[in-house]
């Protein structure tokens, strides 16, 4: 069943590293709103390690899924069969998410700025974009209502870590407050990339580099960031995935390497 990288040894892929780092950040969290892919892997690994009681709520309305196989989409039939509850969209977005029941929301984006605002709508002008992206989906709601948001960005480039967003689809709380509205959560608190981890505490804070992955320098991260990236006084180096973490991830969470590309 398991792929060629089974067990706790062998070279660590970028996906594995991101999953392990994200899982560690979920320590003691109760409810996670996550899409399929790295967030699912991170949540499942967290359940087996630092957050045994964690519940993943999917944008499709599934709560307490117990899939027989790793789901391929947030609406995969295997997520529904055997789940604890399936709720409608009005209940999911209204009562569960806007109602304040989500501790951590996972989001991705084409662009992020230093305050954790996100663009998933367009590259270029909205009216006639050079690239039309999918848009918000539920991201606007996740940012506005989850207590905090983790962003996973595989690619860390000056274009994706933008000084100025081409368009702000999904605003963090700083922009919300400037618009006169007090949000529930603190917005993005962690950005996990192929190069390291950025963090901020909440409203008024800029994202700062707090950790670089093994073999990556602070200067490399700064060069890959579109704004003048600040760093904490003591940037740490990410602890490489422990053999136990890798074993769980490879053998138990995603033995068929659906997402562990």
């Amino acid at each position: 069943m398991s792929g060629q990288r089974a067990g706790g040894t062998g070279p660590v892929t970028s996906s594995e590293l991101l999953s392990v780092v994200a899982a560690r950040e979920l320590a003691c969290r109760r409810t996670v709103f996550a899409g399929i892919g790295l967030p699912t892997l991170a949540a499942e690994l967290a359940r087996l390690t630092v957050a045994p009681g964690i519940e993943v709520v999917y944008e499709s309305g599934v709560c307490g899924a117990h899939p027989s196989q790793l789901p391929e989409t947030i609406a995969d039939a295997v997520l529904i069969t055997g789940a604890e509850a399936v709720v409608s969209m009005p209940t999911l977005f209204g009562s569960v998410l806007q109602g304040g029941h989500i501790d951590v929301g996972f989001l991705g984006a084409a662009q992020i700025d230093r305050w954790g605002n996100l663009n998933t709508s367009v590259i270029g002008e909205w009216e006639r974009p050079s690239v039309r992206l999918p848009g918000s989906g539920g991201a606007v709601e996740v940012m506005a209502n989850a207590r905090e948001v983790f962003v996973v960005m595989r690619r860390h480039t000056p274009r994706s870590f933008a000084d100025v967003l081409d368009f702000c689809t999904t605003p963090g709380p700083d922009r919300a407050l400037a618009d006169g509205i007090r949000p529930l959560g603190v917005g993005v608190t962690r950005v996990i990339t192929e190069l390291g981890v950025l963090a901020r505490d909440g409203v008024g804070d800029e994202l700062r580099l707090v950790a670089v992955h093994p073999g990556v320098t602070v200067e490399q991260v700064r060069a890959a960031t579109g704004w003048k990236l600040k760093a904490t006084d003591r940037v740490t180096t990410t602890d490489p995935p422990a053999p136990a973490e890798l074993r769980l991830l490879r053998d138990d969470v995603d033995p068929n390497r659906v997402y562990l590309r």
Binding site: E55, S68, G82, E84, A85, S95, G99, H101
Partner: protein, 320 residues
Amino acid sequence: MRTMRRTVDRTAGKVMSMREAVAAFVHDGDTVSLEGFTHLIPTAAGHEIIRQGRRDLTVVRMTADIVVDQMLAAGCVARLVSSFVGNSSAGSLGELRRRVERADPEPLVFEEYSHYGMVCRYLAGAQRLPFYPLRSYAGSDLPAVNPGIRKVTSPYPAADGSTEQIYVVPPVQPDVTIIHAQRADHRGNTQIWGLTGVQAEAVYAAEKAVVVVEELVADAVIRADPNRTLVPAHAVDAVVVCPRGAHPSFAQGYYDRDNAFYRAWSAISKDPERLRGWLEEWVYGTVDHAEYAAKLGEEFWAGLAVGEALSEPVNYGRRL
């Protein structure tokens, strides 16, 4: 993927006795929602609140009926938020009328809404909205006696280009909501069928939620039909197993409504002495609902027994 199936007890300790749940989640001065629209009324929870002598409660309930009259008579309630204060179609609530009509033995603060006004207050509470709009109350005297009912101007013009106004109600966010249901698992995933009323919204609106069930069932029972779960575990703080806890209302598929008791209540509650005697015998005089149910006797329960009318299974599918 075998690890995804591991059972992790992520909600240890939710299952508790009614005594423990009321002691832990209902405090003097709290706002307590008891919901269940004629079906699955959480009577046993109301009785335990009486036994524990809670005071100064604000009770929120669409249809304030027998259990509310009993809580009023026991002196638990200072304030009532409701849209129907009658004994179903069977008559009056004697204690409620004395409190409202004559402040006897003490005044009752009453916030009067209509049914949908109450529903919208729960919706606003569940959805963390500052208000919820509804097409009721235009021209009613209710806004004059209830300052909670206000108006908002729509930012969109009406079809004829005119400015449109609509009434709104404020959210209700109870300290605790208590509902009765047919069954739940130990995590609190709660399944209800038959009339489902406003229970899910009342739970989501509340700070804490207690679910009282006819049966605690294995996880596999719940998970065989996830669409039947109206209240997911993440919204539930306590699960109390209390068979027959909705009497004199009914639990679809478990026992029928005790219509005779509804009819009797108008007379019982009309006489304060008789009402006091009823409470002494049936609430203060029983240590818990199991004793109350046993006191009614198996012959009585046989009269409310229901036969079988099973739903047909649907296929959720399994990947081959």
